[in-house]
């Protein structure tokens, strides 16, 4: 993956607007966070291959970046994004890696199920 280029990522997000797209959205502290540090409250969530349609999608911030997708009846949001990639299948992969390079957040869009 490459460090995020805001203009290119914005263009890529916009190409998915106003059509049915599959989303993978995830945040994680890892399954061992509370094991290694008992004072750490671990929380996370993920959704894979939900079908959404957004009318407006924006990337903002100065890095790490935030992305918001405006749905007809709601929002999708992710923060802490640092890297991006377009796969051979044309999928947009956005990820946030922590200071050790571990994945902390992922937001991905695809025309086909992941």
């Amino acid at each position: 993956m490459q460090p995020i280029d805001v203009r290119e990522v914005q263009a890529a997000i916009s190409r998915f607007a106003n059509q049915d797209v599959y989303i993978h959205l995830e945040t994680t502290n890892g399954a061992y966070a509370s094991h290694h540090n008992e004072g750490f409250f671990s929380a996370g969530a993920y959704i894979r291959n939900a079908l959404i349609r957004f009318s407006r999608g924006r990337i903002t911030g100065n890095g790490p970046y935030r992305v918001g997708l405006k749905l007809d009846f709601g929002w999708v949001y992710a923060e802490g994004l640092t890297h991006w990639e377009i796969t051979e299948k044309g999928q947009l992969l956005l990820a946030g890696h922590d200071y050790e390079g571990r994945l902390a957040v992922a937001l991905q869009l695809s025309h086909e199920p992941f």
Binding site: T28, L93, A95, R102
Partner: protein, 218 residues
């Protein structure tokens, strides 16, 4: 004691490497066949390599290849990939999961099964995996069940379970074990680099493998 057949059941590629690869290599050198059933491909791992070379979509294929390489260096010829998804094992139907494991038990007829101790293995997939193995074996009459050696590392495991009753010195096969760990490059490279940097006896703990023999209640 020479085992007839060893069946290992873990949920993630690399679960075998740190805790049991020395034991497996010793069984294999001793002429005992080993079957490894791995429930997922670790699709949701956070480690992407150090520096990162995987992404969320390429990680499963990379980890599959790493697992195959690890099996090769340990000497495992029978690897079963069960096709579950990382971080979802605890949400599967327990009976169906036990059915899948039960089929492999029936086919391979192991004298020893190695898995995680349910309730004492930190990661929800580990606990669910161990619980499914126990559920599958409980369906057998008590005198037909293989011995089960469990890996556990929850903070309270010694408090609740006592000291591990099986302690194996795997220093004679430590090179194979290190090679198995290194085969899981996307997951272990950062850790191994850090250990090397610390130097001294940072890797000493790998030379001993500890198990709790599962005690059947009924």
């Amino acid at each position: 004691m020479k085992e007839k057949h060893v069946l290992v059941v873990f949920p993630h590629p690399d679960d075998e490497a740190f805790g049991v690869s020395g034991t497996l290599a010793q069984h294999i050198e001793n002429g005992t066949p080993v079957t490894y059933a791995c429930l997922t491909l670790g699709e949701m791992g956070r480690n992407m390599g150090a520096p990162p070379f995987a992404n969320r979509e390429t990680l499963p294929l990379i980890r599959k290849k790493e697992l195959e390489e690890a099996c090769k260096v340990i000497g495992i010829h029978d690897l079963r990939l069960l096709g579950y998804r990382d971080k979802t094992v605890e949400f599967e139907d327990e009976e169906l999961l036990a059915d899948r494991i039960g089929e492999i038990v029936a086919e391979t007829n192991p004298s020893l099964v190695i898995t995680f101790y349910p309730g004492y293995s930190v990661h929800p997939d580990h606990d669910a995996c161990g619980a499914a193995v126990i559920r599958a074996l409980k369906r057998l009459p008590k005198d037909k069940r293989p011995t089960v050696h469990c890996v556990a590392f929850a903070k309270n495991c010694e408090q609740d379970l006592g000291k591990p009753d099986v302690i194996r010195d795997v220093s004679p096969v430590i090179e194979k074990k290190l090679a198995a760990i290194q085969a899981h490059r996307s997951q272990t490279e950062g850790l191994m680099k850090a250990a090397k940097k610390r130097g001294g006896d940072a890797l000493e703990w790998l030379k001993t493998e500890r198990f709790w023999t599962y005690k059947w209640e009924d």
